[in-house]
């Protein structure tokens, strides 16, 4: 069965949805809450049913949707905040590299919101992987390394950029075991980036650079959520408009 498109992909498996609809129809055809206690009970039941509709399925990339926006905000703020006088705090890479990363993170959020259980190779490559790989490689090579946090970032940032590229390549090649491995490895790279950024948030905050501390904290929090999303996601194969490709992917 073709997985849901757009926001329908947030919901549970279509078979589960059918069962839940049948269950609810059975209840609603026999039971109407009349007392205030029953109405409260009915309200609680609606919350549980709504939760199951939204999250009743295997983990998706959903955390990356919020994370993308947070991290993009941080990536824009980092080069635009007033620069500290301390040379150890120099960023190094040009602002356009951070802008590319921010754009790719917005692309990640958009794509994740659109279909959190599948990766569409072409859209992901254009909106996420290419700008992210370019931006993160530039940041990785040009980062001014002065602290242990920078060492973490010098490894973590290009690693997640490349990782997302490999994820897209695996999705395009329909190598689902490799895709799972790439997702988990990229999750580690995001976690390492989060460690480096949290350290910087602490150092900036300690030195009175509030805006930079906030930017680093946003980026770090975003990296944590993305790491969680990539670590847990169980994706559905991408279904092509070509039925023969779909048959090949299922075999």
């Amino acid at each position: 069965m073709r997985p849901g498109r757009g926001l329908t992909a947030w919901r549970q498996h279509p078979d589960d949805q059918l069962r839940q609809d049948a269950f609810l129809a059975d209840i609603q055809s026999h039971w109407r809450p009349t007392t205030s206690q029953e109405r409260r009970l009915s309200m609680r039941a609606s919350i549980v049913h709504g939760y199951l509709r939204l999250f009743g399925g295997p983990p998706s990339l959903a955390p990356a949707a919020i994370a993308g926006v947070l991290a993009a905000l941080g990536a824009v703020l980092l080069p635009s905040a007033p620069a500290p006088v301390n040379p150890d705090y120099t960023l190094g890479p040009p602002a356009w590299a951070y802008l590319l990363i921010a754009l790719s993170l917005i692309g990640l959020a958009f794509e994740t919101l659109r279909s959190p259980r599948e990766i569409q190779p072409r859209r992901y490559a254009l909106l996420v992987a290419l700008p992210m790989a370019l931006g993160t490689l530039v940041v990785g090579f040009m980062l001014h390394v002065a602290t242990a946090a920078d060492e973490a970032l010098r490894f973590g940032v290009p690693a997640f950029g490349l990782g997302v590229g490999v994820v897209v390549l695996c999705a395009a090649a329909r190598r689902y075991t490799a895709l799972r491995f790439a997702l988990r490895a990229t999750s580690v790279a995001f976690a390492v980036t989060a460690v480096g950024q949290f350290d910087w948030a602490w150092m900036y905050g300690d030195s009175g650079y509030g805006l930079l501390a906030m930017a680093s904290a946003f980026t770090a929090t975003g990296a944590v959520f993305t790491s969680v999303g990539f670590a847990r996601a169980q994706l559905t194969p991408f279904y092509s408009s070509n039925p023969r490709e779909n048959a090949a992917s299922r075999s």
């Binding site: 069962r19 059975d26 026999h30 039941a45 609606s46 549980v48």
Partner: protein
């Protein structure tokens, strides 16, 4: 919610299993969601489990292979989902009945006799 060691069942799942076993012993081996909800409410005097929680329990137990489900079209309304205890489900329901009976908050409708293999022999050899 704490899961009971060994079986991984939570309290509500055990209640649903025990209620299903009682209904099976009384002759209703095929259950519908409303039937279970209504019976639990009738036995306990007031609704103590909302039907969302009941559905979640049934879904979790089905995933563990304790129930079989079948969506049946209905001539006079929407399709209904029918739940049947599997052989493993019957064994787990017996265990749940005994465990619940041993707790301080044992449901008043619980009957330990239902946990005896002779009470519901239909599924023993399944």
């Amino acid at each position: 919610m704490r899961r009971k060691g060994g079986t991984g069942l939570v309290h509500n799942e055990m209640r649903v299993l025990a209620a299903s076993l009682r209904l099976a012993v009384e002759g209703a081996s095929e259950l519908y969601g409303y039937e279970l909800f209504a019976q639990l409410t009738a036995w306990e005097g007031q609704p103590t489990m909302n039907h969302g929680t009941l559905y979640r329990c049934l879904r979790a137990l089905e995933t563990r292979g304790l129930y079989e489900t079948q969506v049946r079209p209905s001539s006079d309304g929407p399709a209904r989902v029918c739940y049947t205890l599997t052989a493993t489900g019957v064994e787990s329901a017996r265990w749940a009945t005994v465990q619940l009976a041993a707790t301080e908050q044992a449901p008043s409708w619980l009957d330990l006799g239902h946990a005896l293999p002779s009470a519901y022999p239909g599924q023993v050899d399944a």
